[in-house]
């Protein structure tokens, strides 16, 4: 399968890349890992006039901690996230999620920025970023803009990024106190997109009250979904089997999965409930509560 013809540009600065985006407008696409875009171009679902390859731009690939915030450059590959020692400390959830994304070769190419910018509810990082309350940094002609993750996903393949903006960094607050996070997805085979996936992060205070809860759902809604009612069910009190069951129930009610080859709507709702329960337990365990 061969893509439709296009121009290829590989600028070496962000400014040049943004100038190219302004020149081509809607007809340009950023190329990061290319592992969502190139397959779509080969199928001719995407037919950009120009590909702007940002891989030669320095400064877009890093994992660092600064002032209580974790900063991940947009071009950081899945494989780098998978093996990062810094992430293992506060965010074992990244170990959970990356090893469930595709396979080692795809993870050598795919980037975190691309995984979010693609705006696909089947991708796994969006739910994780919802649970972790991430902020997306977009850089455009007027400089940087911070987009809260809750305002980032708009619709099927649609995000808050403007045609002349590049996703440059993801920022995640490093949680204080007893915090645990976890992700799992149900998949038919290694490397498959999720039948259903659930990301959870919980913070508890000294007396065991839940002070922060983030729950994100993968591939059970037209857009990546925050399970807001489930979070509310856990907040402000000690977490009990009853509140966990309540949270699971709400998530399965509030998502909107479609029946497809991966399973019926009913099955997917049931699996969301199961995964919410399991991920809450795992997050609590990692928070040192169990």
């Amino acid at each position: 399968m061969i893509a439709q013809s296009f121009n290829y540009e590989a600028p070496d600065t962000l400014a040049k890349a943004i100038a190219l985006l302004q020149k081509y407008g809607d007809e340009a696409k950023i190329l990061s890992g290319g592992h969502s875009l190139i397959p779509m171009m080969k199928l001719r679902f995407a037919t950009p006039e120009c590909l702007i390859d940002i891989n030669d731009i320095p400064g877009l690939s890093h994992i660092k901690e600064e002032g209580g915030v974790l900063k991940i450059g947009a071009l950081t590959r899945e494989a780098e996230v998978e093996h990062s020692d810094l992430l293992k400390k506060h965010f074992p959830i990244f170990g959970d999620v990356t090893k469930l994304i595709a396979d080692p070769q795809v993870r050598n190419r795919g980037t975190l920025g691309g995984n979010l910018a693609h705006g696909d509810a089947a991708n796994d990082h969006p739910a994780v970023m919802l649970a972790l309350n991430a902020t997306v940094i977009a850089t455009g002609p007027d400089g940087e803009r911070a987009i809260p993750i809750d305002e980032f996903f708009f619709g099927f393949y649609m995000t808050a990024l403007q045609p002349d903006e590049i996703l440059t960094e993801i920022q995640i607050p490093i949680p204080e106190g007893n915090t645990g996070n976890a992700y799992h997805k149900l998949e038919r085979k290694v490397g498959d997109y999720a039948t259903a996936g659930v990301a959870v992060q919980l913070t508890l205070d000294q007396s065991g009250n839940c002070t922060a809860a983030g729950i994100g759902l993968t591939n059970v809604n037209p857009t990546p979904l925050r399970a807001a009612r489930s979070e509310q069910a856990l907040l402000g009190k000690p977490i009990t089997e009853a509140s966990i069951a309540e949270a699971a129930q709400y998530a399965s009610e509030d998502c909107s999965p479609s029946s497809d080859l991966r399973g019926s709507e009913e099955y997917k709702r049931a699996m969301v409930a199961v995964l919410v329960k399991r991920m809450i337990h795992k997050a609590l365990e990692r928070a040192g509560v169990k």
Partner: protein, 167 residues
């Protein structure tokens, strides 16, 4: 609009004028005539097209040739050194780890990076490590054994007995 690219393939520099839409696997197979790299699925799923790009295993059906500009590519043809099979090639041969051989070049290129990152992998690590490579005839047991064999040899140890397993 043609682009001029320079790629080092198996140690030799090549310059070519290519359309940006040319896939790396097509550059390798059709421009450079290195047909050891196979195309199985053409959809990034099977791993038959796996090569090393600057030492990292990648699926060359999902990379543009222009993206390899200035980089170094290793294909199965580059594995033999001074007429001697690479320990992985020897391991596959000794352990009956191929039947039709279609998946083999991709398996070997993937296993090359796996052993570079982790010289003494467990069986489970090997199975996870080759989870992006499909084999439709041999089955995976002997492939895992072949990679274990090569790992041992590369660590300077005596590889385990090579009795093939038919399960």
């Amino acid at each position: 609009m043609l682009k001029q690219i320079t790629v080092t393939v198996n140690g030799a520099q090549h310059t070519a004028e290519v359309e940006p839409r040319l896939l790396l696997v097509h550059l390798i197979r059709e421009v450079l005539n290195l047909t050891g790299t196979h195309i199985g699925c053409d959809t990034s799923s099977c791993g038959a097209c796996t090569i090393l790009l600057d030492g990292k295993s990648v699926k060359s059906c999902t990379i543009l040739a222009v993206q390899a500009n200035g980089k170094s590519v290793t294909t199965i043809e580059g594995m033999i050194q001074n007429g001697e099979l690479h320990p992985l090639q020897e391991g596959f041969k000794e352990n009956h780890a191929l039947q039709c051989g279609f998946c083999t070049p991709g398996m070997i290129m993937r296993a090359t990076e796996l052993l570079a990152n982790n010289p003494n992998p467990t069986e489970e690590e090997i199975r996870w490590g080759i989870s992006g490579n499909l084999c439709r005839c041999t089955g995976y047991n002997n492939i895992v054994k072949a990679i274990e064999y090569a790992g041992a040899k590369m660590r300077g140890e005596e590889p385990a007995s090579t009795e093939p397993q038919f399960v």
